[in-house]
Amino acid sequence: MGFSVTVPRLALGTRRLSFADRLPLAASRRAMPVLAERKQWQRSAWLVRLAQLVAGLAVLLLMPHARLLLTVIMLLGLLGAVVSPARTGQLIVLAAGIAGWVFGYGPHGSPPVARVLAFAVALFLLHDSTSLASTVPLTAELRPEALFGWLRRSAVTLLVAGVLIGVVYGVGALVSYRSSYPLVLAGLLGITATLGVAAWLFSRSLR
């Protein structure tokens, strides 16, 4: 808090003490830290969060028969992930989205392929954009080379995932998933192996 005053000039003989130029500084200074930080927010960081929001809303729209509780949890998680992507909002929104999908179609439901693919892509984009947002604070400038590198890696991931999805649906066309016990066994072994590889990579990464 303070005020601005015009100082009388001694040598010029001015003797007037004027408070006419007093400025209303108190309110503006109180709000200054927030305003100053808001002015430093970068457009590139905002665009990443916008992509995150769009992907989250797409997941919400693609969920079948969305229940109110799951929708609320998902929206809260999405808000948390957008505001603070480096925290657990991402896990909440993904869990809510998957739970909505599983419960929406029931335990033995068979959703249309196009919808499955759209949901998978939306969920991946939500996860991917949240990961990118967690590396770019709102006040940070995301340089184009970093953004293009990230998009290139995402595209490669989607390509690999597309091939794997083709394999899954190809196998599904040949053999019924519901009746083939060897396939279930192979799936369980595959999950165990994948989790084992993931755990090994994870433990190696902490060295």
């Binding site: 601005s4 005053v5 000039r9 001694l10 003490l17 991917d128 400038e141 899954v168």
Partner: protein, 444 residues
Amino acid sequence: MTEHGLAGDRPAERWPIGRWLPTPALTSAIGVLGVLPLLAVTLSRPDLLVIALPIGASALLGLLGRAYRLPRVRLRAEASTLLERESTRLLFEIEAAEGVDVLQLRPVLAGWVELPDGGRQVCTTVEPGQPRRFGYRLASTRWGRGQLDGVLLTAFTAHGMLRADEQVPVQSTFRILPLREGFTATDAVPTATGVVGLHRSRRVGEGVDLAGVRPFVAGDRLRRINWPVSSRAGQLHVTATYSDRDTEVVLALDSTVEIGESTGADRSSSTIDLAVRAAGSIAEHYLRNGDRVGLLDLGRPGRPVRSRSGRNQLNRLIDILLEVRGGSAGNLALTRALARVSPRALVIVLSPLLSDDVADALAELTRSGRAMLVVDTLPEQVEVPEHGQWTELAWQIQMLHRENLAAALLARGVPIVPWLGAGSLDAVLHRLSRLATVPRAVGR
């Protein structure tokens, strides 16, 4: 230029190994990868496997192609000495043995420098064998010093699923010189002493300024004969000139009181800001004219800078000015410090006239007959911090007290002038020069 991670020649030592930690993205991916395929198998629902595949592929591909070593970052400024409001470029140079997805860089700046066009927090990437270079404008905001204390580096790899934080030490200091306003002053000084210089002394001798025409006496140089006058008068006459001398100027900077907010050259200035800028301008002017200039910081009266001439003295004075902070000193210390000033020196006091101790010490100095003038350094617009309902009244009382101090000094013959840049001291210097030529009684 500071380098980071150049310990040895072997690659393992040359590139620092980061301490990588998982991010929530990895936790989410492992959660999805652990739950969905299991549900897919147990419920016989391939769609759940399909949903898990992109995220799982992202995690596995990312972890397989992840980086272990951190990139090496160098930060370098193109100039280390700036004027107020001047800019230089802060150059980032990044190279890596292994590519990272995103590299977040936050230069840690201290003092009076800023990055106005971005660069405070940059997210970039780097590939092995492809060093990346870019720069941002680094601007000075106020006189003093600025520092680059390091760079906070956060590297993300495995598609943002692992992160490593590190502080890269960088030690870079910037000198920000006070804005010098092209100050000029009249040649007239009260006491021109010394041997050579540009000021006209009171003594007749070799010089340029005309002192008069007088009859020729033995010993006069022939080239000084004024032939037109000699032919008219029928007797040899010579042109007499005043000799040129230098002078000693002592700048007494009052840092005992600081009023106003010091926020930068384009923004509001404090009394010390104005005093430092004025001191820099005056010192530069007199030193360029070959005079000897000294400095006395009244906030630290025990550390005067002795009067010398030359370019080195200007650098020295500027260095001392950059260290000026608000301080306090007792009346006795001030009086002693001012008493040590040479009796023939021109003392220019840069003060807002808000301290009784300083005013008393100056009044004491006038008793010894020294040539002295006070430059008023209270800015025209001052931000006064408010401490309750009486602040306005207290400020008015302070201003009245200041006027009383000024009136008392004026009554003792000490001229007071506001700092207005070039030419602001001319009238007073002329008056002081005239006063110096008349005999006067000095109280001892």
